[in-house]
Amino acid sequence: MDALIALLPELLDATFETLYIVALCMLFGGLGGLIVGLGLYVTRAGGLLPNRVVNTVLNVLVNTFRPIPFIIFLAAVQPLARAVVGTGIGDPAIIFSIALAAVFGISRIVEQNLLTVQPGVIEAARSVGAGPWRIIRTLLLPEALGPLILGYAFVFVAIVDMTAVAGFIGGGGLGNFAILYGYRQFEPVVTWAAVIVIILIVQLVQFFANWLARRVLRR
């Protein structure tokens, strides 16, 4: 317990670092996933911008990368991370790797949530002369917003989980904190403190997302 009290400043720093990493991963991965998910959705046969080639390419990409276990994915994309962000280790590499992995996972979640929008609703928008881009912006995304929020909350939890795993390859944050000060120093209390902070973050975000989705869906 004393060890934990002594480590409180580090725990606080680690918490903020985790939040920082998660936020950037959500930003890049979330945007990328949204774009790829939209691409999957609109290019389907009978979609807003049907395109067999693009749809097939996106599907193959997603199906190839999504099932790779994250820890292996981390190692595999290290050279790519080095090429893109200039380093294969540390936070930038971690953020790059997680965001990339998230793109593939999120894209399917986005696609599935967009598919919950009734095709008739899209047709109604087409019938008043709205073009595909306008429909995406002003109708498709608002109509799917409730499920999308819940989908992104789910992703948030997965990303927090990934950042903790990434602690093993030198990423900072709560995972790293737990390993460095708890696991290696044989201080289970310290490890558990990190776990509790993670649980708190996850609970808070999920709670907020539920509230927001309920508001959007008005139930």
Partner: protein
């Protein structure tokens, strides 16, 4: 009868020198790629030619899968034609580019069986959407939304969301949304098929008001003859992608030509007894049975009955009825006859009305 006789006469309002139909389909076909490789493509609409005059309430009736929805989607180019030409308001729209089609669609409203309202928007937001798409300034939009909601009688629901409305109210929002941009044409694809009979009557009355007060041409898709009978002035019967019969509602109802049309008409009109009913009648009336068909404006029934009396023929009315459509009456009366001079009586009567011996 479910919806009661409709007395309104719908005369096209826009009388031009040489009336050009507002919608003209010429040899229009639409095929979908086969579901299986190597199979024949599915011909949903097969060489349909149709003129719809401005001011019409034009009904299109057919069984499920006949190609009605596909046909109506060719009119606002939600689906491109495979061959043939579609002209709307004097402009050939088949073959236009997608961008140009956006403008065309703004001139054609559409309502749906499942209403297809936007759940993320309020009632007012739904009606406003086409106006935003059309680029109308916000202040004008607001006024127009209010006007439309008043027209459909939902001004008090402006701030509600669609899931807080009943089916009939939803369809009225659909109508307000479809008409917000003042289109000349309204396409209604099974617009009352998800509604109960009472609400159906309300919505049909509203469509009639739309036609009469705003002069909007309505293309009404349905599988229910009641709906056609209640509001349409012209009707086309579709079967397997083809229009097999077309004419004024009065003509098609009083004298259907094709089997499919006869079947549809028989759902609302008691005309000539079908086989089962006939067998029952035969059991009760071993004598001669005839069907007398009265056309509009022809001989009065009393004259016909008088002829029977003059020839000493007594009769019993065993089947049929008199109908009013578009303010005109017609009917088929099946009579069981008794008397010695039946032939002479029938000869006299058939000079003025059509008489069919039922065998």
């Amino acid at each position: 009868m479910l919806l009661g006789a409709s007395a309104a006469v719908l005369i096209p309002r826009m009388t031009k020198a040489a009336p050009m139909p507002i919608v003209r389909l010429s040899e229009v076909s639409k095929s979908y790629p086969p579901s299986k490789r190597g199979a024949a493509p599915l011909l949903a609409v097969d060489k349909v030619s149709l003129d719809i005059e401005a001011g019409d309430i034009f009904g299109i009736i057919g069984y499920s899968g006949a190609g009605k929805s596909t046909l109506v989607r060719l009119i606002n180019a939600l689906e491109p034609v495979t061959s043939g030409t579609v002209e709307v308001d004097g402009r050939v729209i088949s073959g236009l580019r997608e961008r140009q089609l956006h403008d065309v669609r703004r001139g054609i409203g559409m309502i749906f069986q499942q209403f297809n309202l936007f759940n993320s928007r309020t009632v007012a937001g739904n009606v406003e959407y086409p106006l935003q798409v059309a680029g109308m300034p916000a202040a004008e939009r607001k006024a127009r939304v209010t006007e439309m909601l008043e027209f459909v009688g939902l001004a008090d629901k402006a701030r509600n969301y669609p899931d807080q409305l009943s089916g009939g109210q939803k369809q009225r929002v659909g109508i307000a949304r479809a008409l917000a941009t003042s289109p000349k044409i309204l396409l209604a694809d099974e617009a009352t098929s998800a509604l109960d009979p009472e609400t159906t009557t309300e919505v049909l009355a509203l469509l009639k008001k739309v036609n009469r007060e705003l002069g909007i041409t309505i293309v009404l898709i349905t599988h229910e003859m009641e709906v056609i009978k209640a509001v349409a002035n012209r009707v086309a019967v579709m079967d397997s992608g083809r229009v097999i019969e077309e004419g004024s509602v009065f003509d098609v109802f009083s004298d259907p030509q094709t089997d499919a049309a006869k079947r549809f008409v028989s759902t609302v009109i008691r005309a000539v007894p079908e086989r089962e009913a006939l067998e029952q009648l035969r059991l009760k009336h071993p004598g001669r049975i005839v069907t007398v068909s009265f056309a509009d404006g022809g001989v009065s029934q009393s004259e016909v009955f008088l002829e029977f009396a003059n020839h000493g023929v007594t009769f019993e009315l065993v089947y049929g009825g008199v109908n009013e459509i578009q303010g005109r009456t017609f009917g088929h009366l099946t009579l069981a006859l008794k008397g010695d001079r039946i032939d002479a009586a029938l000869a006299a009567i058939s000079r003025t009305v059509s008489v069919t011996e039922v065998r």
